[in-house]
């Protein structure tokens, strides 16, 4: 009767969450989540592992279909109060104003899930910060350069946003603590 496939299975969600956790711990490393995506793009596995009815989500560019949106269970809210924001990284972040938290509650800064053409391929970014020994290189193809300008404006530690970059099957994480040189 229950014939759900990954990423909507309990195992798929747990494994996707574990993959995101690993990627958070080592900024710039690329994780392949295709095994738990059930044929969907990696962003769906990431959101399925992170979201539930207790979270809030803003789909900035309408990337989610009705079925996936409903199964996520997260409440739809405006960008400024969303815990998670899904956006098309190939488009500029025009007018997007995510929550950056406050000095009393920096954890309320949003997590941005950006869908790109490819993670692990393309132009190199140089990352420095916690979780990285000296520096790391992350290649990302098809992300609008204005996201980096916007991120620099949003992030003033401890305030800011955290990024999860996704393509069809891979993810990489850039916490707010990491300095990015494009």
């Amino acid at each position: 009767m229950i014939d759900l496939d990954h990423p909507w299975t309990a195992d798929g969600q747990r494994l996707a969450f574990r993959a995101v956790l690993e990627a958070w711990s080592r900024p710039g490393t690329v994780a392949d989540v295709a095994a738990w995506s059930g044929g969907s793009r990696a962003r769906t596995a990431v959101l399925a592992g992170m979201c539930d009815a207790a979270t809030t989500l803003h789909d900035a560019h309408g990337l989610l279909g009705d079925g996936d949106r409903s199964r996520l269970g997260a409440r739809s809210v405006v960008a400024g109060s969303a815990a998670f924001i899904l956006a098309d990284g190939t488009r500029p972040p025009d007018g997007l104003a995510p929550a950056c938290g406050s000095l009393l509650a920096p954890e309320q800064g949003a997590t941005l899930v950006l869908d790109c053409q490819a993670v692990g391929e393309g132009p190199a970014l140089r990352l420095r910060g916690p979780g990285i020994e000296s520096s790391a290189e992350l290649r990302v193809l098809g992300i609008d350069a204005r996201w980096w300008t916007a991120r620099a404006a949003w992030c003033a530690f401890p305030l800011g946003v955290d990024l999860i970059l996704c393509d069809a099957r891979r993810i990489a994480c850039i916490p707010r603590t990491v300095a990015v040189e494009a």
């Binding site: 009767m1 229950i2 014939d3 759900l4 909507w8 079925g67 409903s70 199964r71 269970g73």
Partner: protein
């Protein structure tokens, strides 16, 4: 009939009926079926603060059935059982009844079976409570 009837009907019969109702139709899960403990929150009436009275086992499901001829029917179920299989089956039954598709009479039969179980349990509970009844007015008359 109360909504709890299907959860009190014989479990395997509900599962079998739902499986039969879904034959030849596409079952879409509108929400991921869940089972577990639900933290039950109440609101006290003076300051309207929320407080947690305890946890109850819950299974819930929300589905759509797609029929090539009849179209789409949606149904949902929240049961006081940590059993998402049963909740999904109940949601399928709910969809068929709400849409008025054939098979609704079979669902009604199972609901009646569940209602009978509920009535028997309520009768037993009422008899137990009746034995504990105290008539305070009679106590007052003895004092006088």
């Amino acid at each position: 009939m109360p909504d709890c009837d299907l959860s009190l009907a014989p479990r395997q019969e509900v599962l079998d009926l739902a499986a039969a109702l879904a034959v030849g139709r596409r079952l879409e899960h509108l929400a991921v079926p869940q089972e577990g403990l639900w933290l039950l929150q109440l609101e006290e009436p003076v300051r309207r603060d929320g407080w947690f009275v305890g946890e109850v086992p819950v299974g819930q499901a929300c589905i759509a059935l797609h029929d090539a001829v009849r179209g789409e029917a949606r149904g949902g179920a929240v049961l006081l059982h940590a059993d998402r299989e049963l909740a999904t089956a109940a949601a399928v039954c709910d969809a068929v009844v709400r849409a008025g598709w054939p098979g609704a009479e079979e669902v009604a039969r199972l609901r009646a079976a569940g209602a009978a179980v509920h009535a028997r349990a309520a009768g037993v509970r009422a008899a137990i409570l009746e034995r504990t009844r105290v008539d305070f007015s009679e106590l007052g008359q003895e004092d006088a």
